[in-house]
């Protein structure tokens, strides 16, 4: 049977679905006829940026693993990193920005659900979730609403499925008011022999649809993610899927158990573009085809058309290809867990996806064309006009604060710096009883049972830096993530990225994208942390404004002996407080400290105290950065350190304050500076880590420092219950730890509970 | 075919935290004459065939599962087909 005599599709129809005239032309060329309505829908969704990466693909080749994969064996399986002992880990971060902007609770919940399915569909048990969130300021009621419900949705889903949410980040900046960002990351662990593949192997093998019933939710969600948000988006609420974490939990257990039968030859989760995506991708990867009958799909609603069934993004569903004759064995496992597993079709040898509506053939398209041959575009880039102005801002005209303690308190209480306990307190971060470092430290640490090892994980991106210089900002995101890992004692093993940008069809936004990807790719290569998975989210803009370019990196590291893990709070009165840094701070010989004025560029201090996002991001020397990490990791391995905390947002003063607050102890600190004291306190100079250690261990630390050729400076001692900081022997900050704690800990909660 | 509407509410003795939040929100919107807000659950049940024990059955459903008599009250109405 084949499709003939099709009528041309009204241009309005395919344009509304997001296809250009040119793309429509290409479809007719491939098919040798006009497409059916169902087929146009399938092409529109698979060839959207969200599924087909039609704009980003040429740029993503900067990532070495990605390039290898598309030039060679395909992306399959690229995401698994060996951690020894027969185990592999896989991890991925993905955006759910647009759904969360429209319906924050369900948008966030289904974001978590989707990323978890990406993990267990590979045969891995999900062991942790992280998330990276951005909103407008909490002084606005709409932003509070979005924040409350995004956090609620993440908790609702993650808590129920029993996967701990262990780390992440939350930033508040005006540019995210119209476009909040929700990037959800998940980590899974598996024995190498348990890896599952998303391939439709074996001609004649039955194709099973498992999990939830299919309804009309989320139709064209993928194309939805590929347009700018307007008021009309509000009215598109039917595009947002509803999450059912209870079913997801059953699906996790059933899938992992069913894979153990050995009868599943291929499996893929259903996210964007639902049955369309999973059928054509699994077929394309195996070089096979597939025949499915939409009338066999268990439905939740009556009267659904083939078009709707093929494009539905109903959640908690998977497509499984099963060895012929064993479909009942596999179905029995799903049935045990109370889930559907229904044969909807079979694998064919002709490379085509055939969609039947009962006896009627409604679509017949080459799997590979749909899955892999989305047209790609080389978009124009141009350096944004604003850059020169902001970069050349004269930082020397910034006024010094009259009261440094007050300035410190203000920065401590700023929404982006303040404790995120209000957030992670709503997430179950301990279930599975592997969380060895709880949220709140630089990176979360999970022990790996049956080994001595630990996995450290973090997400990072300073969007303001990327706005001021996307290349450098993206490099710093990776460097800071690696620094977070180092503070727990871990060396990086792999990375995942979530690239959040504005409209790529605007040359300035695409320039930001290209620069950021280049910076991130180079930095990841440098840290031997290959980018093994990722996601691109464009069109994060409203008619009023675009977001800061926000290339979020999720970084994973390994600690050889998890018992040695380190945390960021000061622990013992009398310990030395030392700054490990790439460059000299207090030059004791020359008494000529480095001026850090430039490193105030893009700082939280400028943002909070002066309302400015100007300057250039701090300089970064990757080589020195890595050496600083190595010093700290070796010192942790040698058991020298009581604490390690990275200097990042808010600078040295905030790093010290946080170590005091979390340890409920004070410190006496003296700094030297040959420029404005505010820079000494709040500049966000890179490659710096504040450590504390017993005084008798200083010699051993210095040996490691010397061996690697970086700098260490004794800043003072852990002592009393106040943080006192003098600069050039003038006392500038004197803050009781209890007061700092109150400001830092309650800043967000008090705004949310008003 | 009969339709049954079941309403489950927290007993008056219990603090209804959700109701309190909603009341506050309504007051913020300027509805200042609100005496109280109590939240509850509304459950729609469709029953095939109407034998004589429907009322008894629904009461048992409520007592056994739909409401927790320790903390909740329930009431129901049976809406016959076509009414």
């Amino acid at each position: 049977m084949s499709i003939t005599n099709t009528e041309p599709i009204d241009p309005k129809v395919y344009q509304e679905m997001g296809l250009s005239d040119e793309e429509y032309g290409k479809i007719t060329e491939v098919l040798g006829r006009h497409p059916t309505y169902t087929e146009v829908g399938m092409f529109a969704v698979m060839w959207s940026e969200h599924c087909g990466y039609k704009y980003s693909r040429p740029i993503l080749r900067y990532f070495s693993k990605y390039k290898e994969a598309i030039d060679g064996a395909g992306l399959e399986n690229a995401g698994i990193i060996d951690i020894g002992g027969g185990y592999g880990v896989c991890f991925k971060i993905e955006s759910h920005n647009h759904p969360s902007a429209v319906e924050p609770f369900q948008g966030a919940a289904t974001g978590v659900g989707g990323i978890l399915r990406d993990i267990f569909t590979m045969g891995a048990r999900p062991i942790a979730c992280l998330n990276s969130l951005r909103f407008g300021s909490l002084s606005d009621a709409r932003n509070r609403y979005l924040f409350e419900h995004v956090v609620g949705g993440i908790g609702f889903y993650g808590n129920c499925v029993g996967v701990p949410t262990v780390a992440g980040e939350v930033y508040f900046e005006e540019c995210y008011a119209g476009n909040p960002l929700l990037n959800a990351m998940a980590i899974g662990i598996m024995k190498h022999e348990d890896v599952a593949y998303a391939r439709a192997e074996g001609i004649g093998n039955p194709v099973l649809l498992v999990g939830s019933r299919t309804g009309r939710d989320g139709i064209h969600g993928a194309t939805f993610a590929s347009v700018e948000l307007t008021e009309e988006s509000e009215s598109r609420k039917s595009n947002v899927q509803m999450g059912d974490p209870f079913t997801e939990k059953l699906l996790i257990e059933a899938t992992l158990e069913a894979l153990k039968t050995g009868y599943i030859t291929g499996i893929q989760d259903m996210g964007a573009a639902g049955i369309t995506c999973s059928t054509c991708e699994t077929s394309a990867k195996a070089g096979t085809g597939m025949k499915v009958d939409v009338r066999k799909v268990p439905l939740r609603e009556t009267g659904m058309t083939p078009y709707e069934i093929m494009l539905s993004e109903s959640q908690e569903r998977m497509l499984a290809i099963v060895e012929k004759g064993h479909e009942n064995d596999v179905a029995a496992v799903f049935k045990k867990w109370g889930l559907h597993a229904v044969v909807v079709g079979e694998v064919t040898d002709d490379g085509l996806v055939h969609v039947y509506d009962g006896d009627e053939l409604v679509a017949q398209v080459p799997a590979k064309t749909l899955a892999d041959d989305a047209p790609t575009y080389q978009l124009k880039t141009s350096e944004p006009a604003y850059l020169k102005d902001v970069q050349n801002y004269d930082l020397s005209k910034i006024k010094e604060p009259t009261d440094y303690t007050e300035a410190l308190m203000k920065v401590l209480g700023s929404e982006s710096i303040a404790s995120k306990e209000w957030v992670y307190g709503q997430y179950d971060h301990m279930v599975q009883t592997n969380t060895a470092v709880l949220p709140g430290s630089d990176a979360a640490v999970l022990r790996i049972r049956e080994t001595t090892k630990g996995i450290a994980a973090t997400t990072d991106c300073n969007g303001r830096y990327c706005y001021l210089d996307p290349f450098m900002g993206a490099q710093i995101a990776v460097a800071e993530a690696a620094r977070n890992l180092a503070c727990s004692g871990a060396r990086p093993i792999g990375a995942t990225d979530c690239l959040n940008f504005g409209n790529p069809e605007k040359p300035e936004a695409f320039w930001q994208f290209e620069r950021a990807v280049k910076g991130m790719a180079e930095a990841c290569d440098f840290f031997h942390a290959p980018v093994v998975s990722g996601n691109v989210s464009f069109y994060n803009e409203t008619p009023e404004m675009a977001i800061y370019p926000t290339p979020v990196v999720g970084l994973l590291g390994i600690i050889g002996d998890v018992e040695k893990r380190c945390t960021s709070e000061f622990k013992n009165q009398g310990d030395f407080v030392i700054l490990i840094s790439g460059t000299r701070v207090n030059d004791e010989e020359k008494s000529e400290p480095v001026c850090e004025l430039e490193s105030l560029g893009g700082s939280e201090y400028l943002n909070t105290i002066h309302g400015l996002a100007v300057g250039r991001p701090p300089k970064l020397d990757l080589d020195r950065e890595k050496k600083v990490h190595e010093v700290v990791i070796r010192a942790i391995e040698a058991g020298l350190l009581s604490s390690a905390h990275d200097c990042a947002d808010g600078g040295l003063a905030i790093a010290l304050a946080e170590s005091c607050i979390m340890g409920k102890v004070g410190a006496e600190i003296s700094l030297l500076a040959n420029c404005a004291p505010a820079a000494a306190l709040f500049a966000e100079t890179q490659s710096r880590i504040v450590v504390s250690l017993p005084t008798d261990k200083l010699g051993a630390l210095r040996e490691i420092v010397d061996e690697l050729g970086v700098e260490s400076t004794v800043l003072g001692k852990v002592s009393g219950n106040k943080l006192n900081i003098s600069v050039n022997d003038v006392s500038l900050v004197s803050a009781p730890v209890a007061e700092m704690e109150l400001t830092w800990r309650t800043s967000i909660g008090s705004k949310m509970d008003e | 075919m009969a339709k049954v509407n079941v309403y489950v509410t927290l007993k008056p003795a219990l603090l209804d935290a959700q109701g309190k939040v909603v009341q506050g929100a309504l007051e913020n919107l300027g509805f200042d004459s609100i005496e109280s807000v109590r939240m509850g659950k509304f459950i729609e049940i469709e029953v095939n065939g109407g034998n004589g024990t429907l009322e008894q059955d629904v009461d048992e459903m409520c007592r056994k599962l739909l409401a927790n008599p320790n903390i909740e009250n329930y009431r129901y109405e049976i809406v016959k087909d076509g009414e």
Partner: protein
């Protein structure tokens, strides 16, 4: 001696409880599927935490009608040791194996954190290794852990020493500030009047190794072993 850990659809602390018993207590333990109707051979049954049946309708309301619950009821009636943790506690209340009910936290948000608990009665099957008034650090993780009972029931369980754990501050003082969820009388854990069934919102199985930040939960679980060996 054999422990059993029940798996309901949606349980998610079953494995944690299982590992705590096997690896920390060093006792034999098996899973019990929710459709099982026979629990013979077990000396202690754990109803673990999680979101049985998605917590839909009310926490624990659907799970209590799982096939296994008839057998669990008989097990308890015959004096078997039964402990419900978090969602397990909610199920036991719904099943009327323990008095009272657990309603939404008064802050209406999920709370996950370490809390301090004061041991109110150390002469029970579940607390005999603790000293009276001892402060334990054990995490909570729940949305509906707000203990409620009508005045008569509350008086009865208080008079009868059935409250075994209360939320307190680090010095052991039972204060409103130390109450995370609005529970009446800061109640965190209770036993039935016969003393063989316990329910607690905090998760002892999450506090059994130093790497998890506390080992105080071991005292609760090991107390059961102690009593069974006696």
């Amino acid at each position: 001696m054999k422990f059993g850990v029940v798996i309901f659809p949606g349980s998610n602390c079953d494995q944690d409880a299982f590992c705590a018993v096997r690896d920390v207590l060093g006792q034999p333990v098996e899973y019990i599927w929710h459709q099982s109707t026979d629990v013979s051979g077990f000396d202690c049954i754990v109803l673990p935490g999680g979101f049985s049946y998605g917590d839909y309708l009310r926490t624990g309301a659907v799970a209590r009608f799982s096939p296994v619950m008839n057998a669990v009821q008989d097990f308890a009636d015959n004096g078997g040791r039964l402990i419900g943790i978090c969602n397990g506690f909610q199920i036991l209340c719904e099943a009327h194996l323990l008095p009272g009910a657990l309603i939404d936290n008064n802050g209406l948000r999920f709370i996950c954190k370490h809390v301090n608990l004061r041991v109110e009665n150390n002469n029970t099957d579940f607390t005999n290794l603790c000293s009276e008034g001892q402060v334990l650090s054990i995490p909570i993780a729940h949305h509906g852990g707000n203990y409620y009972a009508d005045a008569d029931t509350l008086k009865k369980i208080e008079d009868n020493n059935q409250v075994i754990l209360r939320y307190c501050d680090s010095a052991g003082k039972v204060t409103p500030e130390a109450n995370p969820n609005g529970s009446l009388n800061n109640i965190a854990g209770i036993i039935n009047d016969r003393g063989n069934v316990a329910g607690m919102m905090p998760h002892p199985e999450r506090a059994v190794e130093s790497i998890l930040g506390s080992e105080d939960g071991t005292l609760i679980l090991q107390s059961i072993v102690e009593r069974l060996m006696a």
